[in-house]
């Protein structure tokens, strides 16, 4: 009885799924339990979403057709919020029984709907030994006992991979297997995933039992939870056991003595609580191999990267964004923003990260966008990047480095520069010195350009040194010339002096002898005569014409120095005086003689 009840539920569920899936897309589908017992009879239902004009049944190798095909039609019309949806389906039902153990494939059936042919997928059914849960109870008694063994109901945690590298995703599935009907769950304790980054994925909204064979036994299995795990540590990681208490409905043990009349009509059920546990699972996480490129950002999987600027050219002090998009499958949600070296004059703000990835049973996939807001402070042509991104490729077992094209950004001159100065001007309001209203460079030089070729300098040039050498040479030449002339002049003077002295001595020869003989009056007489004779020779005047005035005048005409004239005149006077005067002594004579010699020498020079 319970079996029938369960079966109804199953049927309802499965037909619901069929309806849902049929409504979605499939035109012609097949549905049957995947696992059946050897003695079990089961239904195989082909469903078409429209009235077929013909139905071509499949071959049922390995199965006995107990009944069928019986066709049924179902149509429904829904009006929700004025929106009308109609569904229609035709189903062909077979009741089959397996002939032997093993796996059998029911070939595809085909229908023609509206002139178009549709075929169903081939359907594989595993036939196992043992009782099918749907079979009418041969061993009902064992089910009815209170001793529900761990064979009858158990939980199992399975992982898609048992050995992964750090960051590689794996799927952990928590499943319940039961042979007994379950009324509900209590104290559900789901596992914790220490050392993993975990996220629930693809968890069905309602628990949906599917037949599965475990160790040759047929169970109704359902996925309780499915997790995507990303190992964050290396080594042997353990997924903690999960446990829960199941409320299992069992038929109350029939004590025939106490059975009331009503019991015959209603099966009496009793809920038994049983604690079931999924054993812990170990996952071995290998570290990523050494030699990660510097741009490795923790990505493990298969990725692509693109980088672009939202604008190609901006003005200085205006914002621009570099957008790096990484797409692919893998631990995309854990990828860090690639490090990009921006030109030093750029102000870089916090990276904005948009995660557009979705996690499914096959791991995370999608894209992640990193937006780097930048403000260039100086103008010029800048090259950003290239953006480098490295990840570990699981299938190739190596690091892959992606490099974007270098991005060029033209930064123009700042256009809004005036705002800063105006704000600073408002500060000094109270007191101000004479302020220049504007400043400008001074005007160009309009006079002569004074252009000259290259770095031509007079100093150190050939003409400069030539002139310098000329000056020095001139100095030496002049020096030599002058010194020679002076020497010659000196010689002429000496000769003259010597000649003059000679003349004087010759003239005064008799006077000298008189001096030696100390003949006083004779000496002066001779001296007087000699002087006058000298003057007459010198001035070309006859002796008779000589007078003192005459001599002085003529000598002055000849530009003889006045002192010499004076000396001459005084000497002549002294001679004339001494001729008629008594002898005063020898010294005066000597003196006058020397004076005369000197005078004549001087005059001769």
């Amino acid at each position: 009885m319970i079996r029938i009840y369960f079966k109804r539920v199953m049927l309802l569920l499965s037909s619901l799924i069929i309806v849902l899936s049929g409504a979605a897309q499939s035109v012609f589908t097949v549905d049957a339990p995947r696992v059946v017992g050897l003695d079990e009879s089961f239904r195989l239902i082909f469903t078409a979403s429209a009235e077929p004009s013909s139905f071509n049944p499949p071959t049922f190798a390995g199965f006995d057709v107990l009944a069928g095909p019986s066709s049924s039609t179902m149509s429904s019309t829904q009006i929700i919020n004025g929106k009308r949806t109609e569904s229609f389906q035709v189903s062909y039902t077979y009741v089959l029984q397996p002939k032997s153990l093993g796996k059998f494939t029911i070939s595809s059936a085909s229908v023609v709907i509206g002139g178009k042919g549709y075929t169903s997928e081939p359907f594989t059914i595993e036939v196992v030994k043992g009782e099918g849960s749907g079979s009418s109870g041969t061993n009902e008694s064992s089910q009815a006992t209170e001793n529900i063994s761990s064979d009858d109901i158990f939980m199992r945690m399975s992982t898609s991979k048992s050995r992964v590298v750090k960051g590689e995703h794996l799927i952990a599935t928590l499943k319940i297997y039961t042979k007994v009907p379950i009324a509900g769950f209590e104290n559900v304790k789901f596992p914790t995933f220490n050392g993993f980054w975990s996220q629930e994925v693809d968890t069905p909204s309602n628990i949906e039992f599917v037949r599965e064979s475990v160790n040759g036994k047929i169970y109704n299995a359902a996925v309780l939870r499915r997790y995507m795990l990303l190992p964050q540590q290396t080594g042997s990681l353990t997924i903690d056991p999960s446990e829960m208490i199941c409320q299992i409905q069992i038929k109350s043990p029939a004590s025939s003595s106490q059975r009331s009349i009503f019991d015959d009509f209603f099966d009496s059920f009793q809920t038994v609580r049983k604690r079931i546990t999924a054993h812990s699972v170990r996952v071995y996480v290998d570290p990523l191999p050494a030699g990660a490129p510097p741009a490795f950002a923790g990505g493990v999987g298969d990725f692509r990267m693109s980088a672009k600027l939202n604008r190609d050219s901006v003005n200085a002090n205006e914002a621009v964004s570099l957008i790096v998009t990484i797409s692919g499958t893998g631990n995309i949600n854990l990828i860090e923003a690639p490090k990009i070296e921006f030109p030093a004059d750029f102000e870089v703000y916090d990276t904005k990260i948009t995660d557009k990835s979705s996690k499914t049973g096959r791991g995370a996939s999608g894209s992640k966008e990193f937006e780097y807001p930048l403000i260039p402070r100086g103008s010029g042509q800048f090259t950003l990047g290239p953006v480098q991104f490295s990840y570990y490729d699981i299938s190739k077992r190596k690091y892959i480095s992606l490099t974007s094209e270098p991005l060029t950004l033209g930064v123009g001159k700042d256009t809004g520069g005036g705002t800063i100065s105006s704000s600073s001007l408002s500060l000094g309001v109270n007191k101000q010195a004479v302020r220049s209203i504007g400043s400008d460079i001074r005007y160009i030089k309009t006079g002569s350009s004074k252009l000259k070729r290259g770095n031509h300098f007079f100093f150190g040039s050939v003409p400069f040194f030539a002139l310098l050498a000329m000056i020095i040479a001139l100095y030496f030449v002049l020096n030599k010339y002058l010194s020679k002339r002076i020497e010659r002049n000196r010689d002429v003077a000496g000769a003259k002096n010597r000649r003059a002295n000679k003349v004087a001595r010759a003239r005064l020869k008799t006077a000298e002898s008189m001096l030696k003989q100390k003949q006083y009056s004779r000496f002066y007489e001779e001296l007087h005569r000699a002087l006058l004779g000298y003057c007459s020779d010198k001035l070309n005047l006859p002796l008779s014409d000589l007078s003192r005035d005459n001599i002085a005048g003529s000598l002055t005409e000849k530009s003889v120095k006045p002192e010499f004239i004076q000396e001459l005149l005084s000497l002549i006077e002294a001679c004339e005086y001494a001729r008629y005067a008594p002898d005063p002594g020898g010294i005066e004579m000597d003196n006058n003689y020397m004076r005369a010699i000197k005078l004549i020498s001087d005059l001769e020079v």
């Binding site: 000259k452 300098f457 310098l468």
Partner: protein
Amino acid sequence: MKRIVLFLYFSVAISLLDAQTPKELWKNANNLYSQSNYSEALENYLKIEDMGYASESLFYNIGNSYFKLKEAGKSILYYERALKFNPSDKDLINNLNLAKDFSLDKIEEIPDFILGTWIENINYSLSSDKWGIITLFLFAVAALLLLSFRFGSSSRIRKISFFAAMAALLLGLGSGYFSMNQKHRYNLKNTAIVMKPVSTVRSSPDNSGKTLFILHEGTKVELLEELGQWKRVELADGRQGWIFSVDIEVI
């Protein structure tokens, strides 16, 4: 025959038009500048420069044109070039300071010794060539005075001419130094101006070197050595690093 003559005549005329003399270009450029047509004025000035001519006024005017075209870095470069001809020109210093206000980097420069500035002012009050001529003149005077010292008729004349000769000789050496100094300074290629809006100075002459500091357009640096495409530079405040040669232009 007539045609050929005509053709020759035209080709000569065209070539004459084409090859303007620097003087014409100069006049033209000044006119354009006064009409606020800075870019064309600049074009003409640069043509003169391309012909191999140089002068303080030319570089000053080029600097002014660049300034008006809002290219502060280039204007600083040309002002600095003009400064090599005459570092004491007031207009030049004024404009250079103004242009420097537009460059981003503020580097504390050590002020020059006041005596040095005076000497500098005297030095650049005349051109190198004029100092050279003065040098030769003074040497000639000194030579004559030395002759007078040697062959002077009286000791007083000799004494005076000796001291005068010494003074002339010293002055001549001084003006010679001025002339030489100007030439040396002009030929010195040890400073440069950063031309790129943003330029990175690194710790070693390759791209992997650690970034030490950032220089902006218009900053003056001193060149210390060169290695491949990199130049070692020193800032006015003493900091050093390697900069990519393309980023700077030697004054």
